[in-house]
Symmetry: C2
Subunit: 266 residues, 2 copies
Protein backbone atom coordinates (compact mmCIF):
# COMPACT_ATOMS: atom_id res chain seq x y z
CA UNK A 1 0.00 0.00 0.00
CA UNK A 2 2.18 2.81 1.33
CA UNK A 3 5.32 1.49 -0.38
CA UNK A 4 3.48 1.00 -3.70
CA UNK A 5 2.23 4.61 -3.67
CA UNK A 6 5.68 5.90 -2.86
CA UNK A 7 7.27 3.85 -5.66
CA UNK A 8 4.63 4.94 -8.22
CA UNK A 9 5.21 8.60 -7.27
CA UNK A 10 9.02 8.63 -7.03
CA UNK A 11 9.75 6.21 -9.90
CA UNK A 12 13.10 5.05 -8.51
CA UNK A 13 15.60 3.00 -10.53
CA UNK A 14 16.25 0.68 -7.63
CA UNK A 15 14.01 -0.41 -4.77
CA UNK A 16 15.58 -2.14 -1.79
CA UNK A 17 13.79 -3.85 1.07
CA UNK A 18 14.52 -6.13 3.99
CA UNK A 19 12.63 -9.39 3.80
CA UNK A 20 13.26 -10.41 7.39
CA UNK A 21 13.69 -7.45 9.71
CA UNK A 22 15.88 -8.53 12.62
CA UNK A 23 15.33 -5.34 14.58
CA UNK A 24 11.53 -5.62 14.67
CA UNK A 25 10.90 -9.29 13.94
CA UNK A 26 8.69 -8.55 10.91
CA UNK A 27 8.58 -10.54 7.66
CA UNK A 28 7.54 -9.29 4.26
CA UNK A 29 7.89 -11.67 1.31
CA UNK A 30 8.09 -8.61 -0.98
CA UNK A 31 5.58 -9.49 -3.72
CA UNK A 32 3.69 -6.17 -3.46
CA UNK A 33 6.95 -4.18 -3.41
CA UNK A 34 8.33 -6.07 -6.43
CA UNK A 35 5.10 -5.61 -8.44
CA UNK A 36 5.06 -1.86 -7.75
CA UNK A 37 8.77 -1.53 -8.51
CA UNK A 38 8.59 -3.45 -11.78
CA UNK A 39 5.65 -1.27 -12.91
CA UNK A 40 8.02 1.71 -12.94
CA UNK A 41 10.91 -0.35 -14.34
CA UNK A 42 12.88 -0.45 -11.10
CA UNK A 43 15.21 -3.23 -10.04
CA UNK A 44 14.46 -4.82 -6.66
CA UNK A 45 17.20 -5.69 -4.20
CA UNK A 46 16.18 -7.77 -1.19
CA UNK A 47 18.09 -8.29 2.04
CA UNK A 48 17.37 -11.96 2.77
CA UNK A 49 20.04 -12.24 5.44
CA UNK A 50 17.70 -13.55 8.11
CA UNK A 51 15.15 -15.36 5.94
CA UNK A 52 17.27 -17.73 3.83
CA UNK A 53 17.16 -21.28 5.12
CA UNK A 54 14.44 -20.57 7.69
CA UNK A 55 11.57 -19.00 5.74
CA UNK A 56 10.47 -18.86 2.10
CA UNK A 57 12.64 -16.56 -0.03
CA UNK A 58 11.37 -17.58 -3.52
CA UNK A 59 13.07 -14.88 -5.58
CA UNK A 60 11.47 -15.83 -8.90
CA UNK A 61 7.87 -16.05 -7.65
CA UNK A 62 8.25 -12.86 -5.66
CA UNK A 63 10.05 -10.96 -8.41
CA UNK A 64 13.21 -10.12 -6.49
CA UNK A 65 16.00 -9.17 -8.91
CA UNK A 66 18.95 -9.29 -6.55
CA UNK A 67 18.90 -11.14 -3.25
CA UNK A 68 21.74 -11.57 -0.81
CA UNK A 69 22.02 -13.45 2.44
CA UNK A 70 24.51 -14.86 4.91
CA UNK A 71 25.68 -18.33 5.86
CA UNK A 72 25.46 -18.21 9.66
CA UNK A 73 21.73 -17.76 10.26
CA UNK A 74 19.13 -19.99 8.59
CA UNK A 75 21.81 -21.97 6.75
CA UNK A 76 23.62 -22.64 10.06
CA UNK A 77 27.10 -22.59 8.53
CA UNK A 78 30.09 -20.64 9.83
CA UNK A 79 29.88 -16.90 9.07
CA UNK A 80 32.11 -15.62 6.28
CA UNK A 81 30.20 -15.80 3.00
CA UNK A 82 27.32 -13.83 1.50
CA UNK A 83 25.31 -15.91 -0.99
CA UNK A 84 23.90 -13.68 -3.73
CA UNK A 85 21.62 -14.25 -6.68
CA UNK A 86 20.83 -12.06 -9.69
CA UNK A 87 17.87 -12.28 -12.05
CA UNK A 88 18.59 -12.40 -15.82
CA UNK A 89 17.44 -8.77 -16.01
CA UNK A 90 19.80 -7.66 -13.22
CA UNK A 91 22.65 -9.55 -14.88
CA UNK A 92 21.86 -7.86 -18.20
CA UNK A 93 21.98 -4.41 -16.59
CA UNK A 94 25.22 -5.32 -14.83
CA UNK A 95 26.82 -6.38 -18.11
CA UNK A 96 25.77 -3.10 -19.73
CA UNK A 97 27.21 -1.01 -16.92
CA UNK A 98 29.79 1.49 -18.16
CA UNK A 99 30.79 3.33 -14.99
CA UNK A 100 33.31 1.69 -12.66
CA UNK A 101 31.99 0.31 -9.37
CA UNK A 102 32.86 2.18 -6.19
CA UNK A 103 34.91 -0.67 -4.81
CA UNK A 104 37.00 -3.42 -6.32
CA UNK A 105 35.98 -5.79 -3.57
CA UNK A 106 32.40 -6.03 -4.74
CA UNK A 107 32.91 -5.72 -8.48
CA UNK A 108 30.14 -8.03 -9.71
CA UNK A 109 31.29 -7.68 -13.32
CA UNK A 110 34.59 -9.29 -12.40
CA UNK A 111 32.73 -12.00 -10.51
CA UNK A 112 30.44 -12.55 -13.51
CA UNK A 113 33.52 -12.85 -15.71
CA UNK A 114 34.93 -15.39 -13.34
CA UNK A 115 31.86 -17.59 -13.04
CA UNK A 116 30.30 -17.37 -16.48
CA UNK A 117 33.12 -16.10 -18.64
CA UNK A 118 36.86 -16.24 -18.86
CA UNK A 119 37.40 -17.55 -15.30
CA UNK A 120 39.64 -14.55 -14.84
CA UNK A 121 41.09 -14.42 -11.34
CA UNK A 122 39.16 -12.04 -9.11
CA UNK A 123 40.29 -12.89 -5.61
CA UNK A 124 41.54 -15.83 -3.56
CA UNK A 125 38.38 -17.60 -2.45
CA UNK A 126 37.90 -18.61 1.20
CA UNK A 127 37.91 -22.29 0.29
CA UNK A 128 37.18 -23.74 3.75
CA UNK A 129 34.04 -21.57 3.88
CA UNK A 130 32.81 -23.07 0.62
CA UNK A 131 33.26 -26.58 1.98
CA UNK A 132 31.33 -25.55 5.09
CA UNK A 133 28.56 -24.01 2.98
CA UNK A 134 28.34 -27.10 0.81
CA UNK A 135 27.96 -29.29 3.88
CA UNK A 136 25.32 -26.94 5.26
CA UNK A 137 23.39 -27.08 2.00
CA UNK A 138 23.67 -30.88 1.97
CA UNK A 139 22.08 -31.00 5.43
CA UNK A 140 19.31 -28.68 4.21
CA UNK A 141 18.70 -30.84 1.13
CA UNK A 142 18.52 -33.90 3.40
CA UNK A 143 15.87 -32.26 5.59
CA UNK A 144 14.08 -30.76 2.60
CA UNK A 145 13.64 -27.02 2.22
CA UNK A 146 9.87 -27.04 2.83
CA UNK A 147 10.22 -29.36 5.82
CA UNK A 148 12.82 -26.95 7.16
CA UNK A 149 10.47 -24.00 6.79
CA UNK A 150 7.75 -26.00 8.50
CA UNK A 151 10.08 -26.85 11.40
CA UNK A 152 10.88 -23.16 11.85
CA UNK A 153 7.20 -22.23 11.66
CA UNK A 154 6.19 -24.88 14.20
CA UNK A 155 8.84 -23.96 16.76
CA UNK A 156 8.02 -20.28 16.31
CA UNK A 157 4.31 -20.97 16.97
CA UNK A 158 5.17 -23.03 20.06
CA UNK A 159 7.36 -20.22 21.39
CA UNK A 160 4.65 -17.64 20.74
CA UNK A 161 2.07 -19.82 22.50
CA UNK A 162 4.39 -19.99 25.49
CA UNK A 163 5.21 -16.28 25.53
CA UNK A 164 1.57 -15.27 25.25
CA UNK A 165 0.56 -17.70 27.99
CA UNK A 166 3.09 -15.98 30.25
CA UNK A 167 1.52 -12.63 29.44
CA UNK A 168 4.11 -11.34 26.97
CA UNK A 169 2.35 -10.12 23.78
CA UNK A 170 4.22 -10.24 20.48
CA UNK A 171 5.39 -6.92 19.02
CA UNK A 172 4.53 -7.98 15.45
CA UNK A 173 0.97 -8.79 14.33
CA UNK A 174 0.12 -12.43 13.60
CA UNK A 175 0.85 -13.39 10.01
CA UNK A 176 3.70 -10.90 9.71
CA UNK A 177 6.01 -12.49 12.23
CA UNK A 178 9.41 -13.95 11.48
CA UNK A 179 9.76 -17.64 12.33
CA UNK A 180 13.45 -17.18 12.99
CA UNK A 181 13.48 -14.13 15.24
CA UNK A 182 10.79 -13.50 17.83
CA UNK A 183 10.12 -10.15 19.50
CA UNK A 184 7.87 -10.39 22.57
CA UNK A 185 7.20 -7.18 24.46
CA UNK A 186 8.56 -7.09 27.98
CA UNK A 187 6.13 -6.42 30.84
CA UNK A 188 6.08 -2.80 32.02
CA UNK A 189 8.89 -2.06 34.49
CA UNK A 190 10.96 -5.17 33.72
CA UNK A 191 14.59 -4.35 32.89
CA UNK A 192 15.64 -6.17 29.72
CA UNK A 193 19.35 -6.06 30.57
CA UNK A 194 18.79 -7.86 33.86
CA UNK A 195 16.60 -10.51 32.21
CA UNK A 196 19.19 -11.09 29.49
CA UNK A 197 22.05 -11.26 32.00
CA UNK A 198 20.10 -13.79 34.06
CA UNK A 199 19.53 -15.98 31.00
CA UNK A 200 23.21 -15.83 30.05
CA UNK A 201 24.63 -16.31 33.54
CA UNK A 202 22.29 -19.09 34.64
CA UNK A 203 21.54 -20.91 31.39
CA UNK A 204 24.11 -19.84 28.79
CA UNK A 205 21.29 -18.45 26.64
CA UNK A 206 22.05 -15.28 24.70
CA UNK A 207 19.02 -13.18 23.86
CA UNK A 208 19.37 -9.78 22.23
CA UNK A 209 17.87 -6.46 23.24
CA UNK A 210 15.69 -4.31 21.08
CA UNK A 211 17.35 -1.26 19.60
CA UNK A 212 16.33 2.18 18.39
CA UNK A 213 12.69 2.83 19.36
CA UNK A 214 12.41 -0.77 20.65
CA UNK A 215 15.34 -0.50 23.07
CA UNK A 216 14.30 -1.91 26.44
CA UNK A 217 10.82 -2.79 25.14
CA UNK A 218 11.28 -6.16 23.42
CA UNK A 219 13.52 -9.19 23.54
CA UNK A 220 14.90 -10.60 20.30
CA UNK A 221 14.88 -14.38 20.47
CA UNK A 222 16.50 -16.25 17.60
CA UNK A 223 15.39 -19.71 16.49
CA UNK A 224 17.48 -20.20 13.39
CA UNK A 225 18.55 -23.30 11.52
CA UNK A 226 20.02 -25.90 13.83
CA UNK A 227 18.87 -23.97 16.91
CA UNK A 228 15.17 -24.14 15.99
CA UNK A 229 14.20 -27.22 18.02
CA UNK A 230 11.40 -28.23 20.38
CA UNK A 231 13.96 -28.83 23.14
CA UNK A 232 15.32 -25.30 22.81
CA UNK A 233 11.85 -23.73 22.82
CA UNK A 234 10.78 -25.55 25.99
CA UNK A 235 14.12 -25.00 27.73
CA UNK A 236 14.07 -21.31 26.86
CA UNK A 237 10.53 -20.77 28.14
CA UNK A 238 11.43 -22.32 31.49
CA UNK A 239 14.56 -20.21 31.73
CA UNK A 240 12.69 -17.04 30.81
CA UNK A 241 10.02 -17.71 33.42
CA UNK A 242 12.74 -18.05 36.03
CA UNK A 243 14.42 -14.83 34.86
CA UNK A 244 11.15 -12.86 34.91
CA UNK A 245 10.26 -14.15 38.39
CA UNK A 246 13.73 -13.09 39.58
CA UNK A 247 12.87 -9.57 38.39
CA UNK A 248 9.56 -9.60 40.26
CA UNK A 249 7.22 -10.46 37.37
CA UNK A 250 4.73 -13.29 37.92
CA UNK A 251 3.80 -14.89 34.59
CA UNK A 252 0.08 -15.16 33.84
CA UNK A 253 0.50 -18.86 33.09
CA UNK A 254 3.11 -21.49 32.31
CA UNK A 255 4.92 -20.86 29.02
CA UNK A 256 6.34 -24.36 29.07
CA UNK A 257 2.89 -25.97 29.42
CA UNK A 258 1.44 -23.84 26.62
CA UNK A 259 4.28 -24.78 24.27
CA UNK A 260 4.00 -28.47 25.16
CA UNK A 261 0.28 -28.32 24.60
CA UNK A 262 0.90 -26.81 21.19
CA UNK A 263 3.37 -29.55 20.23
CA UNK A 264 0.90 -32.24 21.37
CA UNK A 265 -1.81 -30.70 19.19
CA UNK A 266 0.26 -31.21 16.00
Amino acid sequence: GEAAEFIAREKPQVVAFVQAETSSGAYQPGKAICDAAHKVGALVIADCVTSLGGMPVKVDETGIDIAYSCTQKGLSCPPGLAPITLSPRALELLRQRQSPPRSWYFDLKLLDDYYDGAHRYHHTAPISMFYALREGLRIIAEEGLEARWERHRRNHLALVAGLEAMGLPMHVAEGKRLWVLNTPRLPEGINDVKVRKHLMANHGIEVLSGFGPLAGKVLRIGLMGASSTQENVVFFLEALEEALRAEGYTPAGSGKSAAEKFYKSL
Copy 2:
Protein backbone atom coordinates in the same frame (compact mmCIF):
# COMPACT_ATOMS: atom_id res chain seq x y z
CA GLY B 1 67.18 5.58 -6.16
CA GLU B 2 64.59 5.93 -8.89
CA ALA B 3 61.66 5.70 -6.48
CA ALA B 4 63.26 8.21 -4.06
CA GLU B 5 63.73 10.78 -6.86
CA PHE B 6 60.17 10.31 -8.03
CA ILE B 7 58.79 10.71 -4.49
CA ALA B 8 60.90 13.85 -3.82
CA ARG B 9 59.68 15.39 -7.09
CA GLU B 10 55.99 14.46 -6.93
CA LYS B 11 55.50 14.86 -3.16
CA PRO B 12 52.59 12.40 -2.94
CA GLN B 13 50.40 12.06 0.15
CA VAL B 14 50.51 8.29 -0.03
CA VAL B 15 53.16 5.93 -1.36
CA ALA B 16 52.25 2.30 -1.93
CA PHE B 17 54.60 -0.54 -2.77
CA VAL B 18 54.62 -4.31 -2.98
CA GLN B 19 57.12 -5.88 -0.62
CA ALA B 20 57.04 -9.31 -2.24
CA GLU B 21 56.23 -9.20 -5.93
CA THR B 22 54.59 -12.48 -6.89
CA SER B 23 54.67 -11.77 -10.60
CA SER B 24 58.43 -11.24 -10.81
CA GLY B 25 59.72 -12.94 -7.67
CA ALA B 26 61.44 -9.77 -6.37
CA TYR B 27 61.65 -8.64 -2.74
CA GLN B 28 62.09 -5.12 -1.47
CA PRO B 29 61.96 -4.56 2.29
CA GLY B 30 60.94 -0.95 1.60
CA LYS B 31 63.31 1.01 3.86
CA ALA B 32 64.50 3.36 1.07
CA ILE B 33 60.94 3.95 -0.13
CA CYS B 34 59.70 4.67 3.42
CA ASP B 35 62.56 7.09 4.13
CA ALA B 36 61.91 9.03 0.91
CA ALA B 37 58.15 9.04 1.52
CA HIS B 38 58.44 10.25 5.10
CA LYS B 39 60.75 13.09 3.98
CA VAL B 40 57.82 14.57 2.03
CA GLY B 41 55.30 13.66 4.75
CA ALA B 42 53.69 10.81 2.82
CA LEU B 43 52.09 7.76 4.37
CA VAL B 44 53.44 4.40 3.20
CA ILE B 45 51.17 1.46 2.43
CA ALA B 46 52.87 -1.90 1.85
CA ASP B 47 51.42 -4.99 0.23
CA CYS B 48 52.91 -7.74 2.38
CA VAL B 49 50.62 -10.45 1.03
CA THR B 50 53.42 -12.78 0.00
CA SER B 51 56.07 -11.83 2.55
CA LEU B 52 54.29 -12.23 5.91
CA GLY B 53 55.24 -15.46 7.63
CA GLY B 54 57.97 -16.34 5.15
CA MET B 55 60.28 -13.30 5.04
CA PRO B 56 60.98 -10.30 7.28
CA VAL B 57 58.20 -7.69 7.22
CA LYS B 58 59.32 -5.51 10.19
CA VAL B 59 56.93 -2.61 9.75
CA ASP B 60 58.39 -0.45 12.54
CA GLU B 61 62.05 -0.78 11.52
CA THR B 62 61.21 -0.26 7.87
CA GLY B 63 58.84 2.63 8.50
CA ILE B 64 55.75 1.11 6.86
CA ASP B 65 52.62 2.94 8.06
CA ILE B 66 49.99 0.52 6.82
CA ALA B 67 50.71 -3.11 5.96
CA TYR B 68 48.24 -5.76 4.90
CA SER B 69 48.65 -9.41 4.11
CA CYS B 70 46.73 -12.65 3.73
CA THR B 71 46.39 -15.83 5.74
CA GLN B 72 46.93 -18.50 3.08
CA LYS B 73 50.54 -17.89 2.01
CA GLY B 74 53.36 -17.58 4.55
CA LEU B 75 50.99 -18.04 7.47
CA SER B 76 49.66 -21.27 5.91
CA CYS B 77 46.11 -20.84 7.22
CA PRO B 78 42.92 -21.13 5.17
CA PRO B 79 42.30 -18.11 2.91
CA GLY B 80 39.62 -15.70 4.06
CA LEU B 81 41.21 -13.00 6.21
CA ALA B 82 43.47 -10.04 5.50
CA PRO B 83 45.63 -9.14 8.52
CA ILE B 84 46.30 -5.41 8.59
CA THR B 85 48.38 -3.12 10.79
CA LEU B 86 48.43 0.66 11.13
CA SER B 87 51.14 2.86 12.62
CA PRO B 88 50.12 5.40 15.29
CA ARG B 89 50.48 8.13 12.64
CA ALA B 90 48.21 6.31 10.18
CA LEU B 91 45.67 5.72 12.95
CA GLU B 92 45.79 9.41 13.87
CA LEU B 93 45.12 10.42 10.24
CA LEU B 94 42.31 7.89 10.03
CA ARG B 95 40.68 9.29 13.14
CA GLN B 96 40.89 12.82 11.72
CA ARG B 97 39.32 11.81 8.44
CA GLN B 98 36.18 13.83 7.64
CA SER B 99 35.11 12.46 4.25
CA PRO B 100 33.20 9.17 4.14
CA PRO B 101 35.07 6.11 2.84
CA ARG B 102 34.14 4.79 -0.60
CA SER B 103 32.84 1.54 0.75
CA TRP B 104 31.24 0.46 3.98
CA TYR B 105 32.95 -2.88 3.77
CA PHE B 106 36.37 -1.45 4.43
CA ASP B 107 35.46 1.40 6.76
CA LEU B 108 38.52 1.37 9.02
CA LYS B 109 37.02 4.01 11.27
CA LEU B 110 34.21 1.64 12.16
CA LEU B 111 36.74 -1.14 12.72
CA ASP B 112 38.80 1.18 14.93
CA ASP B 113 35.67 1.99 16.90
CA TYR B 114 35.02 -1.69 17.30
CA TYR B 115 38.49 -2.72 18.42
CA ASP B 116 39.66 0.27 20.44
CA GLY B 117 36.48 2.11 21.20
CA ALA B 118 32.83 1.44 21.78
CA HIS B 119 32.88 -2.15 20.43
CA ARG B 120 30.13 -1.01 18.12
CA TYR B 121 29.00 -3.79 15.81
CA HIS B 122 30.61 -3.49 12.38
CA HIS B 123 30.00 -6.85 10.76
CA THR B 124 29.58 -10.50 11.66
CA ALA B 125 33.12 -11.82 11.94
CA PRO B 126 34.11 -15.07 10.18
CA ILE B 127 34.78 -16.77 13.51
CA SER B 128 36.10 -20.10 12.18
CA MET B 129 38.72 -18.17 10.22
CA PHE B 130 39.93 -16.47 13.38
CA TYR B 131 40.32 -19.82 15.09
CA ALA B 132 42.30 -21.07 12.08
CA LEU B 133 44.48 -17.95 12.10
CA ARG B 134 45.12 -18.30 15.81
CA GLU B 135 46.21 -21.90 15.34
CA GLY B 136 48.46 -20.86 12.43
CA LEU B 137 50.05 -18.16 14.56
CA ARG B 138 50.54 -20.65 17.40
CA ILE B 139 52.44 -22.95 15.02
CA ILE B 140 54.57 -20.00 13.89
CA ALA B 141 55.31 -19.00 17.49
CA GLU B 142 56.31 -22.61 18.19
CA GLU B 143 58.77 -22.64 15.29
CA GLY B 144 59.94 -19.10 16.03
CA LEU B 145 59.58 -16.32 13.49
CA GLU B 146 63.31 -16.00 12.76
CA ALA B 147 63.71 -19.78 12.49
CA ARG B 148 60.80 -19.74 10.06
CA TRP B 149 62.45 -17.08 7.91
CA GLU B 150 65.68 -19.08 8.00
CA ARG B 151 63.83 -22.23 6.90
CA HIS B 152 62.35 -20.35 3.94
CA ARG B 153 65.74 -18.85 3.05
CA ARG B 154 67.49 -22.23 3.21
CA ASN B 155 64.96 -24.05 1.06
CA HIS B 156 64.96 -21.18 -1.41
CA LEU B 157 68.78 -21.35 -1.69
CA ALA B 158 68.65 -25.13 -2.18
CA LEU B 159 66.07 -24.74 -4.92
CA VAL B 160 68.12 -22.04 -6.64
CA ALA B 161 71.25 -24.23 -6.45
CA GLY B 162 69.29 -27.02 -8.12
CA LEU B 163 67.75 -24.82 -10.80
CA GLU B 164 71.07 -23.19 -11.68
CA ALA B 165 72.80 -26.58 -11.83
CA MET B 166 70.19 -27.66 -14.38
CA GLY B 167 70.96 -24.58 -16.46
CA LEU B 168 67.97 -22.45 -15.51
CA PRO B 169 69.12 -18.98 -14.42
CA MET B 170 67.01 -16.99 -11.95
CA HIS B 171 65.07 -14.03 -13.31
CA VAL B 172 65.79 -11.90 -10.21
CA ALA B 173 69.32 -10.87 -9.18
CA GLU B 174 70.81 -12.51 -6.10
CA GLY B 175 69.98 -10.64 -2.90
CA LYS B 176 66.67 -9.37 -4.30
CA ARG B 177 64.97 -12.74 -4.59
CA LEU B 178 61.88 -13.83 -2.71
CA TRP B 179 62.39 -16.91 -0.55
CA VAL B 180 58.74 -17.85 -1.00
CA LEU B 181 58.30 -17.54 -4.75
CA ASN B 182 61.03 -18.50 -7.20
CA THR B 183 61.16 -17.42 -10.83
CA PRO B 184 63.68 -19.39 -12.92
CA ARG B 185 63.88 -18.56 -16.61
CA LEU B 186 62.84 -21.36 -18.91
CA PRO B 187 65.33 -22.54 -21.55
CA GLU B 188 64.76 -21.06 -25.02
CA GLY B 189 62.12 -23.00 -26.96
CA ILE B 190 60.64 -24.84 -23.97
CA ASN B 191 56.87 -24.44 -23.69
CA ASP B 192 55.91 -23.49 -20.12
CA VAL B 193 52.35 -24.79 -20.45
CA LYS B 194 53.56 -28.28 -21.36
CA VAL B 195 56.08 -28.33 -18.52
CA ARG B 196 53.43 -27.22 -16.03
CA LYS B 197 50.90 -29.76 -17.33
CA HIS B 198 53.50 -32.52 -17.03
CA LEU B 199 54.22 -31.55 -13.41
CA MET B 200 50.53 -31.52 -12.57
CA ALA B 201 49.57 -34.69 -14.42
CA ASN B 202 52.51 -36.82 -13.31
CA HIS B 203 53.32 -35.44 -9.87
CA GLY B 204 50.34 -33.38 -8.67
CA ILE B 205 52.60 -30.32 -8.52
CA GLU B 206 51.05 -26.98 -9.48
CA VAL B 207 53.50 -24.41 -10.74
CA LEU B 208 52.32 -21.07 -12.10
CA SER B 209 53.21 -19.37 -15.37
CA GLY B 210 54.70 -15.94 -15.70
CA PHE B 211 52.33 -13.22 -16.80
CA GLY B 212 52.52 -9.93 -18.61
CA PRO B 213 56.02 -9.46 -20.05
CA LEU B 214 57.14 -12.66 -18.31
CA ALA B 215 54.44 -14.88 -19.87
CA GLY B 216 56.06 -18.07 -21.18
CA LYS B 217 59.51 -16.97 -19.97
CA VAL B 218 59.57 -17.96 -16.29
CA LEU B 219 58.02 -20.46 -13.94
CA ARG B 220 56.65 -19.29 -10.61
CA ILE B 221 57.46 -21.84 -7.94
CA GLY B 222 56.01 -21.26 -4.48
CA LEU B 223 57.69 -22.47 -1.31
CA MET B 224 55.45 -20.92 1.32
CA GLY B 225 54.87 -21.76 4.96
CA ALA B 226 54.20 -25.45 5.44
CA SER B 227 55.20 -26.22 1.85
CA SER B 228 58.76 -24.90 2.27
CA THR B 229 60.52 -28.18 3.09
CA GLN B 230 63.67 -30.00 2.00
CA GLU B 231 61.54 -32.94 0.81
CA ASN B 232 59.47 -30.68 -1.43
CA VAL B 233 62.54 -28.98 -2.91
CA VAL B 234 64.23 -32.27 -3.81
CA PHE B 235 61.03 -33.89 -5.07
CA PHE B 236 60.24 -30.85 -7.20
CA LEU B 237 63.71 -30.72 -8.78
CA GLU B 238 63.45 -34.37 -9.80
CA ALA B 239 59.99 -33.82 -11.24
CA LEU B 240 61.09 -30.70 -13.11
CA GLU B 241 64.06 -32.51 -14.61
CA GLU B 242 61.71 -35.21 -15.88
CA ALA B 243 59.32 -32.61 -17.31
CA LEU B 244 62.10 -30.72 -19.08
CA ARG B 245 63.56 -33.92 -20.55
CA ALA B 246 60.07 -34.82 -21.81
CA GLU B 247 60.09 -31.51 -23.67
CA GLY B 248 63.50 -32.21 -25.21
CA TYR B 249 65.70 -30.18 -22.86
CA THR B 250 68.74 -31.90 -21.36
CA PRO B 251 69.69 -30.29 -18.04
CA ALA B 252 73.29 -29.15 -17.68
CA GLY B 253 73.56 -31.07 -14.40
CA SER B 254 71.48 -32.72 -11.69
CA GLY B 255 69.28 -30.27 -9.80
CA LYS B 256 68.61 -32.86 -7.13
CA SER B 257 72.34 -33.45 -6.49
CA ALA B 258 73.05 -29.73 -6.32
CA ALA B 259 70.27 -29.18 -3.79
CA GLU B 260 71.36 -32.16 -1.71
CA LYS B 261 74.93 -30.90 -1.75
CA PHE B 262 73.68 -27.53 -0.52
CA TYR B 263 71.74 -29.12 2.35
CA LYS B 264 74.81 -31.19 3.35
CA SER B 265 76.93 -28.02 3.43
CA LEU B 266 74.74 -26.43 6.13
